[in-house]
Every structure is written in structure tokens, then in C-alpha cells.
Amino acid sequence: MIGLIGDSLWRGWAGLLILSLASTLAAQWVGAGIATPLIGALILALAYFKARLILSRYLGLAATPFWNRGFGMVLGGYMAGLLVLYLIPLR
């Protein structure tokens, strides 16, 4: 068990499960007094971190900092674009 905790693949998998659960739970907060745009932004941020985990741990980009950083920046820009599109009707 301790070996699994120290293993980057298993930790990545656990992180993905936790982030997925967190985003599903966050979606339940709509209408519970928390501003909807904040919940939407949180869900998109969690999706970004999940995608980064898959790129770095499963696809092995953690071993190549140049590409890991590059993919992270492009993905971050894309998620920011999605956030803008999501927020437009809420203005």
C-alpha cells in the first residue's frame, strides 16, 4: 500500500478520481447560495488539472518539462477561452 502511494501513476489515478468527485460535487452546489459563475469556474479549473494529470502522468510528459509546460500553457489558454464563453450569458 505504501508502495502504491509513492508511485506516480497510482497517485495520478487517485488525483484524477478525487478531482472528478470534486467537480461532480461542485455541480450539486448550484442553487445552494454559492454564485453559479464561481462554481462553473471551479469545474473548469478542476477539468484543467485532470487534463494536466493525464498529460503528465499517463502520457509521460512529466519526463519532458518543455512539452509538459507547452501543453499546459496551450490547455490553460483554451480553458480560459471556455470560461469566457461560459460567462458571457451570465453578465
Binding site: 493525464i54 499517463y58 464563453l85 461560459y86
Partner: protein, 185 residues
């Protein structure tokens, strides 16, 4: 950057370069689809929210857990193959494919429920995107299962690295599709 430096950078990418070209191409296609979904949503947020309430978020959440676990199995297969443990690598690939099959089964149940309720692609623009994006993704899952079978048969390390990269791309697309289509209100 000189040509040599560019080649050196490209050679740093794990696995086959052509698979990375495919991964980036697929991400662009699905990325454009998701952006179009959110752009159309700006014209009818209420209708999109009502339509989204008809989705089974639990099934979507279960499928997320299934697919990321399948991705772990595929990544472990490569690790075991690197350690020359071919049987173990094949078993991990089999587990990844089985979980992929489970994903498709849950998706089929979800589609069946929608169709039984009279919800089709023409019901609302939300469902046009829903069927288009999740259906296209499901087709990739089906293709990925075939690829996992092929690399379990022809199990060179290069084949495993390339084939499992496709599987991780399918995983990556889902972790972006699921929150945008099922969860964003």
C-alpha cells in the same frame, strides 16, 4: 530555433511522433466542438440548463471513474512491458479494454434511456451537441478497444507506447467533455 534543436525537442516526446500529431489533431476537433457548444449555449442558457437536467450525471461520473482507471491499467501495461513482463502487460491491457467495454455499456444504457424518453438529436441544440460529441467520443473508445487488442497481440514496446497513447487521448478528451456537457450550469 535551429532545425537540429527542433528535432531534438520533438525526439523528447514519449512514444511515436505521429501519435502525438493524431492526439493534437483530435484535441483540436473536440476542442472546437466544445467551444461551439458553449458558444451556442450563450443564445439559450435556460434551454441548455433544462436539457442538461435530463442527463444522468451519476452515469457520467461513473464513466469518468471507469475511464481514468482504464487509463491507469494501460499505463501500467507499458511499465510492465518495459520490465519485460509480457504476460502481466497483456493482462493490464485486457483490464483496460474491459473497462473500456464497461464505459460503452454505460453509455449505451444512457443513450437507450434518452431514446426511450423520445429525446433525439433534433429535440434541442443541446442534444445535437450531446449526441455528436459523446457519440464521436464513444466511437474513439470502440476504436481504442480494438487498438488495445492489437497491441496485446503484437506487443512490442513501441506498439504498446503508441497504442496506449491513443487510449490516454480518449481519456483526456472525456475529462474535458464530461464537465462541460454534464456539469456546467
Amino acid at each position: 530555433m535551429s532545425e537540429g534543436a527542433t528535432e531534438s525537442r520533438l525526439s523528447e516526446l514519449p512514444g511515436d511522433l505521429m501519435m502525438w500529431v493524431l492526439i493534437v489533431s483530435e484535441l483540436l476537433v473536440f476542442g472546437a466542438g466544445l467551444a461551439a457548444f458553449l458558444a451556442v449555449r450563450t443564445t439559450d442558457t435556460g434551454g441548455f440548463a433544462e436539457a442538461q437536467d435530463l442527463l444522468d450525471r451519476t452515469a457520467g461520473g461513473i464513466n469518468t471513474a471507469v475511464l481514468v482507471t482504464s487509463g491507469l491499467c494501460a499505463a501500467l501495461a507499458v511499465r510492465w512491458r518495459r520490465a519485460h513482463r509480457r504476460l502481466g502487460a497483456r493482462l493490464w491491457l485486457g483490464a483496460a479494454a474491459l473497462l473500456g467495454g464497461l464505459f460503452l455499456w454505460v453509455k449505451a444504457v444512457e443513450y437507450g434511456d434518452k431514446i426511450a424518453a423520445g429525446i433525439g438529436t433534433e429535440t434541442h441544440p443541446f442534444f445535437t451537441f450531446y449526441y455528436l460529441l459523446t457519440g464521436f467520443h464513444a466511437a474513439h473508445v470502440a476504436a481504442g478497444i480494438i487498438i488495445l487488442g492489437l497491441i496485446a497481440w503484437r506487443d512490442s514496446l513501441n506498439n504498446l507506447e503508441t497504442g496506449t497513447a491513443f487510449w490516454h487521448m480518449v481519456d483526456l478528451v472525456w475529462v474535458l467533455l464530461f464537465p462541460v456537457i454534464y456539469l456546467l450550469r
